[in-house]
């Protein structure tokens, strides 16, 4: 089974002081470390585990500038067979829709049975990629997927619903699935594992190679325009509850009840 995994290169904002850039439409990303989107880590692991069971090939692809090669190489170390970087200066400013278009033009050009993505990305949490890819490719898609198994050209899996429920589904292949975190235990990638795949070439494909027109990508090809980005207003500050543990717990429970946390 041939699987294509779409990987996103996201800024790590966990310990950073976020600053909005001059235009006021994005955060300043120059000083931020970037890393593999955590959700996608589970997608690549799932793809490799499926390949180890069923055979076939795993291809990873990311729409990101050159720095993201590090992420794709890590995917090779995790067991992917080939990796492609999709980048062109014209891609700058693409929204989810434009990125989906770029990915689709890549996916359509090769044989595939399954596309895997993470359900969300750590940066803008759009959660739209899986659905858009499915629609553009004309195949079924699902999000928050776990417990995947493949038999006789059909793929079955669970979809996470609210309240701890799962729905069990079956789909015809090809399909696009966006995975939930925690559906597997991603393997560890050591320095040596990355070194072993250091010489594998990771081609960069631009507008020309993908057969795309400039008008379909970047800001022009996007449907979402960001008007303005602002920091959330500072709140009143936290309330420290003092006193003995029992008293503090009672007070906390009271506040939670009062303000709607628990019934």
């Amino acid at each position: 089974m041939d699987i294509i995994v779409c990987m996103k290169w996201v800024p790590d904002t966990s310990e950073a002081d976020l600053v909005i850039d001059k235009e006021g439409k994005d955060i300043k990303k120059d000083d931020l470390d970037h890393d593999m989107n955590d959700w996608d880590r589970f997608a690549i692991e799932e793809a490799v585990q499926l390949k180890e069971k069923l055979g076939g090939k795993v291809t990873v692809v990311g729409v990101a500038p050159e720095d993201a090669e590090e992420m794709l190489r890590e995917c090779l170390a995790r067991g992917a067979d080939e990796a492609f970087l999709l980048w062109d200066d014209a891609f700058e400013g693409s929204d989810g829709f434009a990125v989906a278009r770029i990915l689709v033009s890549f996916i359509k050009a090769r044989p595939w049975d399954l596309v895997l993505t993470g359900t969300l990305a750590d940066d803008d949490c759009g959660g739209q990629m899986g659905g858009m890819l499915g629609a553009m490719l004309g195949v079924p898609s699902a999000t928050l997927v776990s417990a995947i198994s493949v038999e006789d050209g059909k793929i079955t899996f669970n979809r996470e619903l609210e309240g701890g429920l799962y729905e069990h589904m079956e789909m015809d292949l090809p399909a696009v699935l966006s995975v939930a975190t925690g559906l597997n235990e991603p393997r560890f990638v050591s320095i040596r594992a990355v070194r072993k795949v250091a010489s594998v070439e990771i081609p960069t494909l631009g507008l020309g190679e993908l057969g795309l027109d400039e008008s379909l990508v970047g800001v022009q090809g996007s449907r979402v325009q960001i008007e303005q980005l602002t920091m959330p207003p500072e709140g009143e500050g936290a309330e420290m509850i003092g006193g003995k543990p029992e008293e503090a717990a009672a007070k906390l429970a009271e506040i939670l009840k009062e303000k709607g946390g628990i019934g």
Binding site: D12, S14, E15, A16, D17, D31, D33, D35, R78, E185, P186, R187, F188, V189, S190, I191, R192, A193, R195
Partner: protein, 678 residues
């Protein structure tokens, strides 16, 4: 000498010397073949160059081998073992003599003739009685009192072998006594009775002189003795009592480099190029590892002291030796061909991942082993294999990735490594740029830079150094994680990267010494880094400042409170620094100190430092820190002082979860000194 000496009495028509010859040759041939098979496995194992510093090694053999140095750490069992060992040494001459007596009735070893020979006979007779008594005590001890450390809760033990060997040794002593006791009667030499207590004791149970059964006892006792002797000899290399033969070589070839970890593979230039790294298959052990397996006597002292075993984690160090030895004997058998291995993976199935990750590398097992068996190297080698396979516990993956990305496990922004300096009032901490010089380079490490609780120690040390007029500086953003735990978790590639970065930063600056308050950083730089830089632990530097009168202390902070000191593993056991922190504490006027039941080299690990702070173990029933906090509570301590930031964090948590909050304070030595400055 009687006319019924064994050498002159044919057995079943076979002349005794012929029978002796047959027994000797058969037993020695079989023994030699078993030894050949055992040595063959050593030869097939991976290399480990240990044929250097032979003088030092000879001293080890004298101290820990012949001197039985570590035996009295368990006083009762230790004394018993020392007596048995001494008995074995003394009676070995007797055994040789008796073998000779099968050939010639008046056989004597050279020099053991005349008065000397008689003197030896007297000594030997006392020793025989002593060994017999010791054996009986040992059997009773095991069977009736059942010391917990001889248990094998998970199964797989070889406890019954102890009874076999004790039985055989007792039989050796009894037959010797029968042989000599009957001689007393046959010779009518009962005048020596007072000098030969064992023989006299045996003869008391025998018929009067002239009885026709005496020659049977004499000759029969002899042959049974000989058969038991050769049976015992051949039993050694197929049982846990192989240590009788291998312990002294094992001690001779012991590790001489404390505090560090073996290279990934000896004799390989670039380990990164290896097909597989670490130990996944038994064949990847070194010969010294295998010799360790051969030598384990299953005494259980390692596991008795192992904090992981204490709290219910899957690890029991001795079971690594025992399981590996069982595996070795099954797959490299003395006779016939080995069974089909099937899908059994040594690392993973024989030794499970849970066991491998449970270890904190505290070194309590190695400190205790009477014959210096090493465990940490093996565990790290198995981890190296698992890391190579990507099989790392999820809880450890994130911090490892953070170090790769950001140089610290906390995910802290690299550019904020020195942010703590801004909180210091009135003290300017110099960030040494390349080319700068200072007397002391303060290596803060990731924990001291990013963990808000540990930052308090960092700031305290900066204040102490400032007060002591020490010219010091930090690396600031050029500092990277020290890598102590990275290496011990088996990620050698990442360890090499961080070590290289720090070494580059050290090289680019001039300093007399590095100072670190975290024993893990101290250990990595002192023992693991391929290039050596002079380094002291904060407790050593503070001791020096106190000695030279640059710091003055008040006893206010610990006034009227009982203080105990918790030895951090990487300061004490791994680096032998026990006295400096105690010296510093004793400089606090009026301080009342009491040691916990487990202190100095027997200190009890709080659950590990560095990345192990993130490790979540599912099997443990309680936290190691909690066990330790209770030990402190037992002696009525109101202040636990430690000299390691991770001990501090683990013990502070433990004091809360054991209900001692408010009753007991946990404080780092550096913090305590900072608060006691006048």
């Amino acid at each position: 000498m009687t006319m019924f000496e064994p050498a002159s009495v044919p057995i079943a028509g076979i002349p005794a010397p012929v029978l002796s010859f047959i027994i000797l040759v058969t037993a020695v041939c079989f023994f030699a073949y078993v030894m050949y098979r055992r040595i063959d496995l050593l030869r097939k194992a991976l290399p480990d160059p240990r044929f250097y510093e032979l003088g030092k090694r000879a001293l080890l053999a004298v101290k820990y081998g012949f001197g039985q140095w570590r035996q009295p750490r368990y006083l009762g069992a230790g004394i018993l073992h020392i007596l048995l060992f001494a008995g074995f040494m003394i009676l070995s001459l007797r055994s040789l003599t008796l073998i000779g007596r099968g050939f010639s009735p008046d056989f004597h070893l050279p020099l053991l003739t005349g008065a000397v020979g008689f003197g030896y006979d007297v000594l030997k007779d006392y020793v025989v009685l002593m060994v017999l008594i010791v054996c009986v005590v040992c059997i009773v001890r095991r069977a009736v009192f059942k010391p917990a450390r001889y248990d094998h809760p998970g199964g797989g033990g070889h406890g019954s072998e102890a009874y076999i060997i004790l039985g055989l040794v007792s039989a050796l002593m009894v037959t010797d006594m029968i042989f000599d006791g009957s001689a007393l009667k046959l010779n009518g030499a009962e005048g020596h009775a007072g000098l030969l207590p064992a023989a006299t004791l045996a003869s008391a149970f025998m018929p009067e002189s002239g009885s026709p059964s005496l020659p049977y006892l004499h000759v029969g006792g002899y042959w049974v003795h000989i058969l038991v002797f050769f049976g015992l000899l051949n039993y050694l290399p197929v049982s846990k009592h192989f240590h009788v033969i291998t312990a002294i070589p094992n001690v001779f070839f012991a590790n001489l480099d404390k505090g560090t970890i073996k290279p990934v593979r000896h004799g390989v230039k670039d380990w990164m190029e290896l097909e597989e790294c670490g130990i996944g298959r038994f064949e990847q052990f070194t010969w010294k590892h295998v010799l360790d397996f051969y030598s384990c006597a299953d005494c259980g002292r390692c596991s008795d002291n192992c904090p992981a075993a204490t709290v219910g984690r899957a690890l029991s160090p001795r079971m690594i030796s025992i399981k590996a030895r069982d595996y070795a004997y099954t797959h490299h058998p003395v006779l016939w061909s080995p069974p089909n291995n099937g899908d059994v993976q040594f690392t993973g199935d024989v030794i499970t991942e849970d066991e491998i990750w449970a270890c904190t590398t505290c070194g309590a097992c190695e400190e205790e082993c009477p014959i210096l068996i090493q465990y940490i190297d093996k565990i790290v080698d198995m981890r190296r294999y698992l890391v190579d396979q990507g099989a790392v516990p999820q809880s450890l993956q994130k911090p490892l990735q953070q170090i790769k990305k950001k140089g610290n496990a906390y995910g802290g922004n690299k550019a904020k490594r020195a942010a703590w300096t801004k909180d210091l009032e009135g003290i300017e901490v110099r960030q040494l740029a390349e080319g700068d010089a200072a007397d002391y380079l303060f290596f803060v490490d990731s924990c001291g830079s990013f963990d808000p609780r540990i930052q308090e120690i960092t700031k305290a040390l900066a204040r102490i150094l400032h007060r002591g007029s020490v010219d010091f500086g930090i690396l600031g953003n050029d500092e990277t994680d020290s890598g102590n735990e990275i290496r011990r978790l088996g990620e050698e590639g990442l360890f090499e990267q961080v070590a290289e970065k720090n070494i580059e930063a050290f090289r680019a600056r001039k300093f007399r010494e590095i100072v670190a308050f975290d024993p893990h950083a101290f250990n990595a730089i002192r023992n693991d880094y391929p290039e050596k830089f002079p380094i002291v632990h904060a407790s050593q530097l503070i001791a020096k400042l106190l000695r030279s009168g640059k710091l003055h202390l008040s006893g206010e902070h610990v006034k009227n409170r009982l203080v105990t000191y918790h030895d951090p593993c990487y300061l004490g056991r791994h680096n032998g620094i026990y006295e400096d922190p105690r010296f510093v504490l004793n400089q606090i006027p009026g301080i009342q100190m009491r040691e916990m039941s487990r202190s100095y080299s027997r200190s009890f690990c709080c659950s590990g430092g560095g990345l192990l702070l993130w490790y979540e173990n599912e099997q443990e029933k309680e936290r190691m820190g909690e066990v330790r906090a209770r030990m402190a509570a037992e002696i009525g301590a109101q202040v636990i002082v430690t000299a390691c930031p991770f001990c501090l964090i683990n013990l502070e948590d433990a004091v809360k979860t054991t209900g001692n909050e408010g009753k007991m304070e946990v404080i780092d030595l550096v913090e305590l000194i900072d608060r006691s400055l006048t």
